[in-house]
Amino acid sequence: MSTTAVAGTDTESAAGSLDVDFSIRNLWKVFGSDAAKIVADPAMAQLSADEILEKTGCVTAVRNVSFDVARGEVFVIMGLSGSGKSTLVRCFTRLIEPTAGQVMMRGQDILNLGASELREVRRRKVSMVFQHFGLLPFRSVIDNAAFGLEIRGIGKAARHARAHEVIELVGLHGYEDRFPDQLSGGMQQRVGLARALASDPDVLLFDEPFSALDPLIRRDMQAEVIRLHRDMGKTMVFVTHDLTEALKLGDRIVIMGHGEMVQIGTGDELVGAPANDYVADFVSDVSRSQVLTLKWVVTPVPDDLPGDGPSLPATTVIVDAIPTVLGSPVPVRVVDNGVTIGVVDRDAILREVAGEKSF
């Protein structure tokens, strides 16, 4: 999963540059009358969401958020319910109209698009998968999958051919003529996924797609997404409240709280260096050894380290390093881009594995 990782937490990279799919700048979404005024008023814009609510009765769902989503990455937006994450992802294609800020998609200013241009973006470039599937109950699986193509005006034969492909892709072959209510939740979400894939978009948005599913099915679906990402390499923006899911899928994760960005980074950055108590609390239950890479547990290279000892890349997750480290009589060298940044020894590994609850 980490092969396409884009390193760094640089949120300032230039909007519209070629390797960025979505560039969000100073995005606000305030619900209520006169929302625009609140954002425009610098004194108000200073306040926290709670204070704005108290003063004006307006609910601030997204407060001054900026980040980039790189092409091909899986970008996870994470937070508790009410943290504004679902609102945020809807602002990407203006399913919810942002109050202020900028949303650029490959150099296109989404917020300045006319209705028909926006429809084109939704029809061809960005597709979304929803928590409650949003399937049309009176249409069969194949017609649901082909719905996006149908509204683009593609003929029946062509769109059914394409729909067959994507249905196959999501593993629903043989279910084409079923109706949504004849399918399990997981299968329904596969239809939702097929529908999103049918138009071959550049970006896929997922809004808590698996939170309504059973744990086992959720695991299958997560694997499915990983597989699809691997095969198709599409940019994905994935909203979830489940940290395990976020860590499993996300190249980078942004943690939202009260409408604000709390921290952005790779999974091990969040676990290894939580920015504040909120994040720390979030990641406290995570199995650190399964998330953290070796760079978080390295110790300085002892002087007596033999030069021919085993070495591991810094991006190796701790659990994966256990056999090597435990099997090595000497501390294992940790190499990042050819440079040795330190070593891990048995004690360090065991401390992480055994003591993760005490963090």
Binding site: F138, R139, D143, E150, G153, K156
Partner: protein, 324 residues
């Protein structure tokens, strides 16, 4: 836009089939209709639209007129069951050609005859209508003196109902008539309260129940009326009607006038010179004639058409006179 769901297509196709068959059907008229010799009903007489009120006197008039117009003149008569006011309204907009028994209705006459000049008087029918106060027969028999209004207060307590509070109940019926009853009760200083039953049916049923159960009851009624054949209500005499005694509605203290019932027709119909219009103008008979036909219909349970035929057969000369 593409609406391709199977069901929608199916609906379109079935709708198309339906529409096509409808067109097919209405396009050519039924062969039964066209094969029938239709000359007799579409003769020069044409169609007469006759408002139909529901009392039996009216039914008798209409039945005889219809029978003669159809059999002797070859007209088509369309009978439209309507309340009186709506019937007049029909005269106004031409959906009705004639009313064959009209009870006064000065307000309507003023509106449609005097002001709008769309209708005109078509002459008297020869029948007389009487509005008055009535009691069930058993009561008249048990207390004969009740038939004089002067004795009503003596019995007022017996007429009490929960509807009338502490006073005797006087029941009014058909809201189509302007009644003087409230004024009469006040001006004759009767210890009664007028209660509005709201419909003719309610009034008749009340009289019927009163007769069956031998309960006390007094109310507004009129003759001729078919119900009088079933239960011969007894009239209570009121102070005699004199010209002008009912000029001021709130000061009325006399009996209702006798109505010389007439016919009303649209100006257009009257000036059409159709034989049916002339027949309507000429139609005139006696109370005895009307009662005979009414009896055929109510007591003998004949259909109006059969009753009319029986009377016409027995009164050829009268009918011939109308047609001269």
């Amino acid at each position: 836009m593409r609406l391709t769901s199977a069901s929608r297509r199916r609906y379109f196709s079935s709708a198309a089939i339906l529409a096509a068959s409808m067109l097919l059907i209405t396009g050519c008229s039924s062969s039964l209709n066209t094969s029938a010799n239709s000359s007799d009903s579409t003769s020069k007489c044409g169609t007469v639209k006759l408002a139909m009120s529901d009392w039996v006197g009216y039914t008798a008039n209409a039945a005889v007129y219809t029978y003669v117009a159809q059999k002797r003149l070859g007209c088509t008569v369309k009978q439209l069951p309507l309340t009186e006011q709506v019937g007049w309204q029909g005269l106004g907009d031409g959906t009705v050609d004639a009313i064959i028994e009209n009870w006064g209705h000065e307000d309507l006459a003023k509106k449609y005859i005097t002001d709008q000049k769309v209708a005109e008087d078509a002459g008297l029918t020869g029948n007389i209508g009487k509005i008055g106060w009535y009691v069930p027969p058993w009561l008249a028999k048990a207390h004969p003196d009740i038939l004089d209004w002067n004795n009503l207060n003596k019995y007022a307590d017996n007429f009490k109902t929960p509807e009338s509070g502490g006073q005797g109940q006087f029941l009014d019926g058909d809201p189509a008539f302007v009644t003087n009853d409230a004024a009469l009760v006040t001006n004759l200083k009767l210890n009664f309260k007028v209660v509005y039953s709201g419909s003719e049916a309610a009034l008749i049923q009340a009289f019927r129940t009163a007769e069956t159960n031998k309960t006390w009851m007094i109310g507004y009624f009129y003759s001729p009326q078919w119900f009088l054949a079933e239960v011969p209500l007894k009239n209570v005499s009121l102070p005699k009607w004199t010209e002008g005694c009912d000029a001021v509605a709130s000061a009325v203290a006399c009996d209702y006038p006798v109505y010389h019932l007439n016919k009303v027709m649209t100006v257009k119909f009257a000036q059409s010179n159709k034989p049916a219009a002339d027949l309507l103008k000429a139609f005139h008979w006696t109370d005895a004639d009307q009662d005979t036909v009414a009896k055929y219909i109510t007591a003998d349970k004949m259909t109006p058409a059969a009753a009319a035929q029986k009377w016409v057969d027995a009164n050829k000369s009268k009918v011939d006179a109308w047609l001269k």
